[in-house]
Amino acid sequence: MKEGKPKNIFIKGAITASFIAESIEKHSVKKNIGGHSIFLGQVRADEINGKKVSAIEYTAYEEMAMQKMHEIREAVFEQYELTCMHVYHSLGKVAAGEICLFVFTSSAHRKAAIAACSELVERIKAELPVWGAELFEDNTHQWKVNQ
């Protein structure tokens, strides 16, 4: 479904498994879908200089991120034969083990869904004005760097 206006992609805190399940469930009425591809980003409890990451706190330039996501969405819909595309990103604190990014594409045929999902993940990480601060157990933090 192509949409005319920027959608809010941000969710306060972690993205829950039940939210993901509901999102999957909603697609059972779309009987032209043959394959769904989903990417989930999960917060890692990395150890950095002997200190463990307990959570990531996300902030964003929300308005610009939604506008940018809108442009990416339009471009990816142009490029691939998709029936649906959904993107959700956490804001605020997300604990290690919790989910902070949910990218969901659907298509009649698997290849378009898989390729589009993978491309979306790369573009989201590279192009959306979002920042993660890795919070350590001792209440210090460092700014995340995307690879």
């Binding site: 980003g41 996300y58 902030t59 964003a60 330039y61 308005e63 610009m64 991120a65 506008q67 940018k68 990103h89 902070c100 990014l101 993940v121 989201i124 990480k125 590279a126 192009e127 959306l128 004005p129 979002v130 920042w131 993660g132 601060a133 700014w143 995340k144 760097v145 995307n146």
Partner: protein
Amino acid sequence: MKIRVLLFGQLAEASGVSELEMEGYADTISLISALQERFPTLQQSKYMMAVNQQMVSENTKLSENATVALMPPFSGG
């Protein structure tokens, strides 16, 4: 001429401010040099700039009520 300046991530943290209003700067070069004077840590920082939500890499004219965002490297996802 009023300009709205937004700072994000480590830039907001280092300068202790995330939003401010500046007045009397006609382009991004003059604005940035004033900001660097006010927040010296900016000189050592890596950041990108957006004017009215459009990324800019060269000196850009500013119009009344423009929003200039200084953004450290993105690290979403």
